[in-house]
């Protein structure tokens, strides 16, 4: 493997560091473990082949998330089938730490809300950054976030925050 650098990191370092991020985006988007794996491989293969220039690691991470979402969208376009949630639950092996864990509820949401909620709660991105990654306006992201939280609340019940 030649010395390809991605924001100063070796390819192996990039894969190990951002595998969780990319994998979770794929799983969240596709709700299918096997399909998520395929997209995961494609994303890193694309990164290696194209070797774009990154100004910083943040830039690299944002690129990976964006490409992951796009890859999942194209994959779904070709597949045009969605497996029921139970398949994801069975294959993802979620560990229910407690009864208040509502990870499952994410999968009940539409993809546009899932993306925003994931980036906000899991990756801890700010609204502006989420808007930049998804290519949307900040106001749109705020609206999606608000509506996503409302829907999530309705799904898991309104007696919890």
């Amino acid at each position: 493997m030649d010395d390809k650098k991605f924001a100063g990191l070796e390819f192996e370092q990039v894969v190990r560091k951002y595998s969780n991020t990319v994998g979770k985006v794929c799983i969240m988007r596709l709700k299918n473990w096997a399909d998520a794996e395929d997209c995961f491989q494609n994303i890193f293969a694309t990164l290696y082949k194209k070797s774009p220039h990154f100004e910083s690691e943040e830039h690299l991470k944002a690129w990976l998330i964006r490409v992951s979402i796009n890859e999942c969208v194209s994959f779904l376009r070709t597949q045009k089938t969605l497996l029921p949630l139970k398949d994801v639950v069975n294959t993802a092996s979620f560990e229910n730490y407690d009864s208040l864990d509502v990870s499952w509820a994410l999968f009940e949401l539409e993809p546009k809300y899932r993306n925003v909620l994931y980036l906000f709660y899991f990756e801890r991105y700010k609204i502006d950054k989420i808007a930049h990654i998804l290519g949307k306006k900040s106001t749109t992201v705020k609206t999606l976030l608000r509506r996503g939280k409302d829907k999530l609340r309705k799904i898991y019940g309104s007696d919890v925050k």
Binding site: K24, M28, Q41, K49, E95, V102, L106, F122, K161
Partner: protein, 220 residues
């Protein structure tokens, strides 16, 4: 209100196999790349233009070279003919086309005697391929056509005979009652010069680069 969490999703770990497979896929893709041959449109079009120009140059070279060869051959033949002319007592010396001075011919040396023939009193040859002949007698009044046969001394061949007269060697000449000669000519092939008091006509044979030497000999 109790706080919910996404712990299970947050703590979800991507299997190590995915990572290993991603790394191994990139290694498989890393093949030693050969230097790519540039087949861009620009390169191909430039190469084709170059080939066309080279082919054109070669064609032009051979075309002009062929012409040069012919000219050199004609010069060689001219030289040979002039050599022979010097040697042979039967032929007049070649003169320049401007010089119309008369030279007598050795009348006993007429080579052809078949048919009615009237040999010119005088004729001369230019250094090129122009042959002029002067007739002061031998032409019958009223005759419309006189065919001239050229004898190429260099090859020893008749350019035509009474049976195989080719248009290239013909000049249609009309004999008038006052002895003058009217002649028509094909400007591309034969040029006729008429002078008062003289009967000349000129054979200009474009096809034969060497001068025609020999006897002009007329069928009437």
């Amino acid at each position: 209100m109790r706080k919910v969490n996404f712990n299970s999703f947050r703590n979800l770990q991507i299997p190590e196999t995915w990572i290993e497979e991603a790394l191994s896929n990139s290694k498989c893709d890393e093949k030693p790349r050969k230097k790519p041959i540039v087949f861009s449109r620009r390169t191909l079009s430039f190469a084709m233009c170059l080939i066309f120009v080279c082919a054109l140059c070669v064609a032009l070279f051979f075309y002009f070279n062929n012409d040069i060869n012919l000219a050199s051959e004609s010069l060689t033949e001219t030289q040979k003919a002039s050599e022979k002319n010097k040697k042979s007592p039967f032929l007049l010396q070649a003169n320049s086309s401007d010089d119309f001075g008369s030279q007598t011919q050795n009348e006993s040396q007429v080579p052809f005697e078949n048919g009615k023939n009237a040999t010119p009193d005088d004729f001369e040859f230019s250094t090129g391929n122009v042959c002029t002949a002067k007739f002061s007698q031998g032409l019958l009044v009223g005759e419309k056509k006189i065919y001239c046969v050229l004898y190429d001394y260099t090859t020893g061949e008749l350019m035509g005979d009474e049976n195989l007269l080719s248009d290239e060697h013909l000049a249609e000449i009309e004999c008038l009652d006052d002895g003058m000669v009217n002649a028509s000519y094909d400007p591309l092939k034969n040029k006729v010069v008429k002078r008062a008091g003289e009967y000349w006509y000129v054979f200009y044979n474009e096809l034969i680069m060497s001068p025609i030497q020999g006897y002009i000999y007329i069928y009437i």
